[in-house]
Symmetry: C2
Subunit: 392 residues, 2 copies
Amino acid sequence: MLNFEYYNPARILFGKGEERQAGRQAARYSAKKRILLHYGSGSIKRNGVYDRVVASLKEEDIFFVELPGVVPNPRYSLAQKGIQLCRENDLDFILAVGGGSVIDSAKCIALGTHYQGDVWDYYLDNGKPVEHDVLGVGCVLTIPAAGSESSTGSVITREEGLLKRSYDGEVLIPKFSVLNPETTFTLPDYQTACGASDILAHLMERYFTQVPHVDVTDRLLEADMKTILYNAPVALREPDNYDVRAEIMWAGTIAHNNLLNTGRVGDWGSHNIEHELSGIYDIAHGAGLSIVFPAWMKYVYKDNIDKFVQFAVRVFDVQLPFEDKERIVWEGIRRLEAWYQSMGLPIRLSDANIPGDRLEEMAKKSVLHCEHVGHFKKLYAEDVHEILKLAL
Amino acid sequence: MLNFEYYNPARILFGKGEERQAGRQAARYSAKKRILLHYGSGSIKRNGVYDRVVASLKEEDIFFVELPGVVPNPRYSLAQKGIQLCRENDLDFILAVGGGSVIDSAKCIALGTHYQGDVWDYYLDNGKPVEHDVLGVGCVLTIPAAGSESSTGSVITREEGLLKRSYDGEVLIPKFSVLNPETTFTLPDYQTACGASDILAHLMERYFTQVPHVDVTDRLLEADMKTILYNAPVALREPDNYDVRAEIMWAGTIAHNNLLNTGRVGDWGSHNIEHELSGIYDIAHGAGLSIVFPAWMKYVYKDNIDKFVQFAVRVFDVQLPFEDKERIVWEGIRRLEAWYQSMGLPIRLSDANIPGDRLEEMAKKSVLHCEHVGHFKKLYAEDVHEILKLAL
């Protein structure tokens, strides 16, 4: 176990009807009572969340400017517009209502409002220290997946060159996040599946580490993975099942709040590779991950086969003789692929109608700003190319 | 799953040598740079922790007043002395160096310093709102067990009548806690065992709930329990094994930071009963729990046998036919008792040389300030008496 610092002050309000608390919570953090209300398309208007949130803001006499229009893989240009709105209207807090994309966009606006330069500087240089005021962000989460509701991270796509980059910083942890599983009842099956895949991927990125002696976080990660593996298929069959939606939503937040990453170094190679995929083809993040992760596993497992044996045995209950570790590992990967397929997710590029003609381009772009990606095994452009070929 | 609010802003600094950061962290929270240095007996002087902490305070030019002398089951009278010292010396922060008792005592002092009345009011009325300033508390934890290093709770024993009572409040969450597993190398075996028993008990108190659909927290609790069950015996054989000590220490903090309690209601009946035991006989908390918990289980399991079957199967790998649930449950309890014994802990009152002549008195005291204790099954005085008889 490595030395670590853990700090997560996000206040979570979880359960039925909790979005009615958004106004009261926003009032705690917005001294001026002037906020940006940020969301995506109209889905929050159809399911009533918008009305309940707006009512709670009015109850607290909070002035708000609306900025809708966030799309999956949130765009830099919209965030720029948000920064302008916050400056022009003297807003001091952002309430993000929606999924991870909306929250990530809100974080970018929060970071950029009082920054003299171009906020993209931070996304080009993850680790750049923040020396200016950052607006507070609150969330009403309507899609279980991102983890952004209690994490330090924000991922933004810049249209010019279709570059998708991330920034992580303690200042980006939301002040509060409201999670009401009822808001996820109306998610289309495909989005439910993609959300589950995304949560699972966050857990696997953390799980596959070369740091030894990480017993407690290994076990906690396995616990969270099993929660997703067992509950997500039920949510497809029973979309209005509150209990199952609640398990997925809470497991999703825990997956990404950094507790399960303590004392270890995650891999994140698959995420980097997937970013190139969804940056070019605009495929849902979770669907990109269900394509990339099995291919990544097949390419890297020999670098620490025992970790993959543990994964197959403890997460997927593979009960084959330990004398043949390879078979155990491949059976584990096969079960993971079967789970993805049972959720209606692609496991090959061809399943998502993605042609094989730009693999090398994506491989090169994935290591554009660093020599290699991943920690479990360092991946250079040629490795990423091989992984993408395994995903054909 | 119940609606819940989760908030835990304690900053954790975990790993080798991290106590050297105590001064820098204390300086962040003590505006006056005047603090109370609170600890127990001289063990922190023998293992060098005291010297390193004091050096780090001096580096930051922090003025400090020392208050040693905290004992297990920390006393109200010493906390009163601490309150007086803070008032007389205009101190605005408390650094607790030691185990749960020292931290609990520090929290009591922090709560009492600016309170006009008697701080015991809070311990008599858990839930009483705090309407005055509370000092910040920082910790350097040297015993893995209490959970107090990131929890809302404080347990204090008042000598008069040997009353042991607790208070819980968000204001009592420490600002920071330093956890260096190396500081636990020199713990006597018995204390290591008692610490492990205490952590396990915290997990079991949360695990045994009547709230349905708590899948993710069930699994996380099982993960943390297994970490303790597998690592604690190794720590007895290899006291200087950093990795094993680290697993226990981090699992212990996670056990009690309330994340694993989200959406559910813990039982805490065994803790209440044990408080009477250690209040009268001054037995170590963990040793009292290893006596009380199996007896409690035998008395209550029929109120939700499936929860106990799940515990036996998933935590202790009991593989008996499901057609006889009783046998599965009893085998689970037997394995728990065997684990306690392998750790050198008592599982009966007689193992700890506690006579059976005051059982009724303890039973009555346990429900002195409430009609009953426990949530899994409501326990009245006569139930507690029966449980104590099962522990003979």
